[in-house]
């Protein structure tokens, strides 16, 4: 399975992709393989847990252990219950017999929980505006650097806006990404009004004819009412210049996040109408099951997956692929 980044974005002509030198340098892999590298660590533990159960029969104990394995992946209580109930129905109806079919069913049922909304990034506007939000430390700035790099590769001219004026050295971090990716960064001093930076950024984008403006915002806990208001204000500032923007409002969720990820996504969505999720740091042992819960319970598409710190470490999301890796074939082998 391979993919073309020009298909990941809406508004990019299919022939636009040029093989960038940096990609060769960093040793670009097929998405499946590099994602699998990240995920395989996470999956092994789950696989071992499940393998013991799934060899022969599906008994009461097995169900409980499947439940625990799902909970252990941070899929969350209610989505876990939904999955297990569906599987039980299928088993009762004789649609699932034996472990091999159970694994396939588990994947299918889980994949079906994901939102069916468009997982592509909409940049078919001029300029297209992407607002990046999320709680502190979830990888907003890094994700922006990666998206900018991919946009450049498909022939778009992105502009970055450093509206995280709060965290010490956040501006420097984005500027450093701009340098690496060779993309301009609009910024002001630390502590300046983020709304003003956004205004400047959009003016600059229109003056320069940039195709895509990506706005970095300060990490904020969804419980900080004043900061959430500030984010709402930024959206109003954006709309003064580009009325139908932001065209994408993405929230980064750290794959290690537990059930609080649901609350994060819900409150950010309430405040600024999130259009999609970037699941970051999938290269650890965390299984990222919170993505299932967020997508299922809030009907938000997972759009991208971050699997490392390099520019190339960003993958488009694919529910079938994701669940295939989450519940791998090793479940049966590793007994």
């Amino acid at each position: 399975m391979s993919y073309n980044w020009s298909e990941v974005f809406v508004g990019v002509s299919p022939t636009a992709e040029v093989e960038p030198a940096a990609a060769r340098e960093e040793g670009r892999k097929g998405w499946f393989r590099s994602l699998k590298e990240g995920l395989s660590r996470s999956t092994k533990a789950l696989a071992q847990q499940l393998s013991a159960i799934l060899v022969d029969r599906i008994d009461e104990d097995a169900w409980e252990r499947i439940e625990e394995a799902l909970i252990g992946a941070d899929i969350g209580v209610s989505s876990t219950v939904a999955i297990v109930e569906k599987l039980e129905q299928m088993a009762d109806a004789g649609e699932v017999r034996g472990p091999a079919e159970l694994v396939a069913a588990l994947r299918r049922v889980t994949a079906e929980l994901f939102s069916t909304k468009d997982t592509r990034i909409d940049v078919a506007h001029s300029p297209a505006v992407i607002l990046m939000t999320g709680v502190n430390g979830t990888g907003k700035t890094t994700t922006i650097g990666k998206i900018a790099w991919h946009l450049k590769n498909v022939g778009k001219q992105p502009l970055l806006v450093a509206a995280d004026t709060f965290r010490a050295a956040a501006v420097e971090q984005l500027v450093e990404w701009g340098r690496r990716v060779d993309v301009d960064v609009i910024h002001q001093d630390r502590g300046s009004d983020p709304g003003a930076v956004v205004f400047d950024g959009l003016s600059a984008a229109m003056a320069r004819g940039s195709d895509v403006v990506i706005i970095d915002t300060a990490g904020r806990l969804h419980t900080q009412v004043n900061l959430m208001r500030e984010l709402e204000k930024m959206v109003r500032v954006i709309r003064k210049q580009v009325t139908d923007a932001p065209h994408e409002t993405l929230i980064t969720i750290d794959a290690t996040t537990g059930q609080n990820g649901l609350v994060q996504a819900r409150l950010f969505r309430e405040a600024v109408g999130v259009t999609g999720v970037v699941l970051t740091k999938m290269d650890g042992t965390a299984k990222g099951g919170i993505a299932v819960a967020v997508s299922h319970e809030l009907d938000l598409p997972i759009k991208l997956i971050g699997v490392g710190e390099k520019m190339t470490d960003l993958q488009p999301f694919d529910a079938a692929g994701f669940t295939e890796l989450l519940f791998s074939d090793e479940i049966l082998k590793a007994s």
Partner: protein, 442 residues
């Protein structure tokens, strides 16, 4: 969004008054609620399993005291067990008898290490120490800059060698520098890393061997899910932790990771970090965390915060004036400022037991209201502040203009003040008001 465990237990056992003893069915029901609540709080499922088994054992046949409802009885048991699991007492930092004491901070990317370094430095300043920060994260873009900015804010020196040097050297040189300059605590920031990143974990181990820190603290995001156990285990195996710093506790995550990490590593949580400001850092109190996971508020933390921030002398003076019923606008200003020293109103409110967090989230406390009140008071003459009764119509107009507010706001404040004086008289005469926060219009 999450129903607190206390609420769940009340719900499950609410109708059980006068049973005398908890029956098997009661306990099964309770066990289910506890299991769900802990899983929703992100406590690792293995830890949950063991924990629930223990609760069941203790609750079975436990005599229900007359003074407690069965639900309260169970909450008490759960609270005790949670506290025991997290360690019974607050666990302080180990200071070396031969300074400098070296503290090394480790953890995943984005867990809040660098900020925690700054906050720890500030915490130590408050204890009369003279810390030195060492910028050992040479990989993340601008991490060194971030630490320097924090150091500048705190007026604490930062030792760095840019981003090209070897972190092991930087750490060693930093400790040497502290010794030369007579700084008594060294805080080493390290690169955020994945616990499965072998070369980086090895680098940490080398820093540990060469510098021999007295405290190695693992920084853990309180929003971490089930994976917290793997992370903690790996760091424990590679660098042998001394304790844990739990960050971002001002969010609404229940922080079940604290429980998992403690259970897996056997190492205590030493500090908790809250908020954006550098003073949001304190010793961890297991009993209070137990209450948080249970959703029971955190009265003790509030009391301690108040004790730290309120100037004892000023408080005594205020009390004297209160008794004489001479509460003036000057006193009011003092009081406002003292309360504000304790942190944002939101953070204070979040620690009061009995105020459900869900409700709190919707309650928008406007710290700016305080600014407006201050502006109005500052527009009064000293005479007016001492004797508010003399403030008539034209004075009100003048004050309104002077403070950039309007007459209604001035009137409102004067009315509130009058009520407050009345309340203060009650306190003075020994009758406590029911809700002391009434004075802030809550």
């Amino acid at each position: 969004m999450f129903e607190s465990l206390s609420d769940r237990l009340q719900g499950a056992l609410g109708g059980l008054k006068g049973h005398g003893k908890l029956t098997d069915t009661d306990i099964e029901r309770v066990a289910r609620e506890i299991r769900l609540a802990l899983l929703e709080a992100d406590v690792n499922f293995k830890v949950v399993k063991e924990f629930v088994a223990r609760i069941k054992e203790r609750a079975l046949g436990a005599e229900v005291l007359e003074s407690l409802t069965p639900a309260q009885q169970v909450i008490k048991i759960v609270n005790q067990e949670l506290t025991t699991l997290m360690g019974s007492t607050a666990n302080k930092l180990a200071f070396s008898s031969r300074p400098p004491t070296v503290v090394m901070m480790v953890g995943l990317q984005g867990s809040g290490k660098t900020t925690a370094c700054g906050k720890l430095a500030n915490f130590l300043l408050g204890q009369g120490k003279s810390p030195l920060l060492v910028a050992g994260d040479v990989y993340r873009p601008a991490a060194v800059d971030q630490l320097k900015a924090l150091g500048a804010q705190l007026n604490v020196p930062v030792y760095d060698e840019g981003t090209d040097a070897d972190p092991v050297d930087i750490a060693e040189h930093g400790v040497a520098r502290a010794r030369e300059d007579g700084r008594d605590v060294v805080i080493i920031d390290t690169a955020g890393r994945l616990h499965i990143d072998e070369p980086l974990m090895e680098e940490l181990a080398r820093i540990r061997r060469n510098v021999k820190p007295h405290n190695i603290l693992l920084v853990v995001d309180s929003m971490t899910g089930q994976d917290a156990v793997n992370v903690a285990q790996q760091f424990q195996d590679k660098v042998d932790l001394d304790g844990i710093v739990l960050t971002k506790l001002d969010g609404d995550a229940r922080g079940g990771a604290a429980l998992s990490v403690r259970a897996v590593t056997g190492r205590p949580v030493k500090f908790v970090s809250t908020g954006e400001k550098l003073d949001g850092f304190e010793y961890f109190h297991p009993d209070r965390m137990a209450s948080r996971i249970l959703g029971m508020g955190d009265m003790l933390s509030l009391i301690e915060k108040a004790e730290q921030s309120l100037d004892a002398q000023q408080a005594a003076e205020l009390e004297r004036r209160l008794l004489k019923s001479q509460f003036t606008f000057d006193d009011f200003m003092d009081q406002l400022q003292q309360v504000r020293k304790m942190g944002s109103l939101q953070s204070i409110l979040s620690m009061i037991p009995g105020l459900p967090t869900a409700k709190l989230r919707n309650l928008q406390v406007d710290d700016k209201a305080f600014d407006r009140i201050q502006a109005i008071i500052q527009s009064m003459t000293p005479e007016e502040r001492r004797h508010p009764d003399i403030i008539g119509g034209s004075r009100r107009r003048r004050i309104a203009v002077g403070s950039g507010s309007d007459i209604q706001a001035v009137n409102q404040l004067l009315n509130q003040f009058k009520q407050m004086q009345k309340m203060m008289k009650q306190i003075g005469s020994g009758r406590m008001p029911k809700n002391p926060f009434q004075m802030f219009g809550m």
